[in-house]
Symmetry: none
Subunit: 249 residues, 2 copies
């Protein structure tokens, strides 16, 4: 990996998360901490980031202060993202829905990963696009401004043409009896198509959405291969899902 490339990645991370730890960077990019520190120093000298003990901050961050709730939720989503990323290997074809958890996953993808991501979610696509080694396929159709995702029969037809290795679904509600449910009819149609077109279906969900139900049904638990939350795999909340045959991470 080229030095400039690495620095670009760092800068990208900083601008996204508003902060970055040199320790996590050095495991992500797989270089020594010294190298990261030197990079951060250079970027700081150019005024691109603000270097602090243990990492760096985005320049635009000096005034904005997230609520504790927000930060907490983001940490949870990062945990989920890390677990999801562990399932991805080089060369995979991956379908993803939209949603903040998916975005967080996109932001955390290791830079050396080579894979093809297929999605109709505009924010997700934006993240994938910044990644150096990822091929991005955009599902086109009418854009739903609410969900910032392409919806409609054309989009569904395109998804049907794909056979993906794995499909990551951002989940609005999941319940042992009702399965996965959501509240936007068009998005549900898309998710159904994505499930059909994938060898493996993985749901990403923060714990607070577990055991909740929304009006429109996406699929039953039997169609789901794995459920990823920020909880440890042996958490009691997850037991019913394991019993129902869903793998948990």
């Amino acid at each position: 990996m080229l030095k400039k490339e690495r620095q670009a990645f760092i800068l990208h991370q900083v601008n996204l998360h508003n902060k970055v730890l040199s320790s996590s960077l050095c495991t992500d990019i797989n270089v020594s901490e010294d190298t990261i520190r030197r990079d951060l120093q250079e970027l700081a000298e150019e005024g691109k980031v603000i270097k602090v003990h243990g990492g760096a901050l985005s320049h635009s961050f000096n005034q904005v202060y997230f609520s504790t709730n927000g930060v907490y939720s983001q940490n949870q989503k990062q945990i989920i993202a890390k677990k999801a990323i562990a399932l991805i290997t080089n060369g995979m074809f991956i379908l993803t829905s939209g949603g903040t958890t998916i975005i967080e996953m996109a932001r955390c993808l290791p830079p050396q990963l080579r894979a093809t991501f297929i999605s109709g979610s505009i924010p997700a696509i934006l993240e994938y696009m910044h990644h150096p080694n990822i091929e991005v396929i955009l599902i086109g159709d009418r854009i739903s401004k609410n969900s910032k995702i392409t919806v409609g029969s054309e989009a569904i037809a395109k998804i049907r043409q794909v056979k993906a290795d794995v499909c990551f679904l951002g989940t609005n509600a999941i319940d042992v009896e009702q399965g996965v449910t959501d509240n936007d009819w068009e998005v549900v149609q898309l998710k159904k198509a994505m499930i059909e077109s994938s060898k493996m279906v993985v749901c990403l969900s923060i714990a607070e959405k577990i055991n909740s139900v929304q009006p429109i049904r996406v699929c039953g638990l039997n169609e789901i291969d794995m459920l990823i939350t920020e909880l440890p795999a042996d958490d009691s909340k997850l037991k019913p899902y394991i019993d129902a045959g869903v793998k948990v991470a």
Copy 2:
């Protein structure tokens, strides 16, 4: 292998992958690293690539990751945008390419305008999405990271299905004899399809790009209905185009 040939290959690789390692180049082309380095140096001096230790990066790489500056020559582009918007009326179907001029137009669209915009350009789509009354149709396919636009046969097929009232093309180069030209083969294919699918074709171009030529031909002047620049319509630079039958604004 000829020198020019080699450099063309290198340039192609860089534009394709956004980066290139001199080591991999020298095994690919089977010449010494010195030769590669000299080639890269020449290309860097011509501004075609950005040379870094260990290889080279595409110019768009820097744009993607280090974009700190705003839109290039924004005032001029706003003038162009205003003129273009004057052509749009409620209910129109409008095809647009990518490019900063198009983005600027998207930003200047009056909020009460009702129209349907069709594009494969991610930055343009992002702007359209923010407008309250605009319907957005996204052309899907593989995303070219250079141009941030979807390219490929699927995209072209989708464009062919459309019959738009007007098509706005961001123009890289226009010349009285050579017509409209560009430097990215895939983008050119798209633009050709867009021209075919539109009742009216409008080129947006800042004055400094007038009378310049790029390697790949998009279309002749006869296929263009209107040319919009920031210059007043009676500017002498535009006279040859008016004589060639192109309307000017």
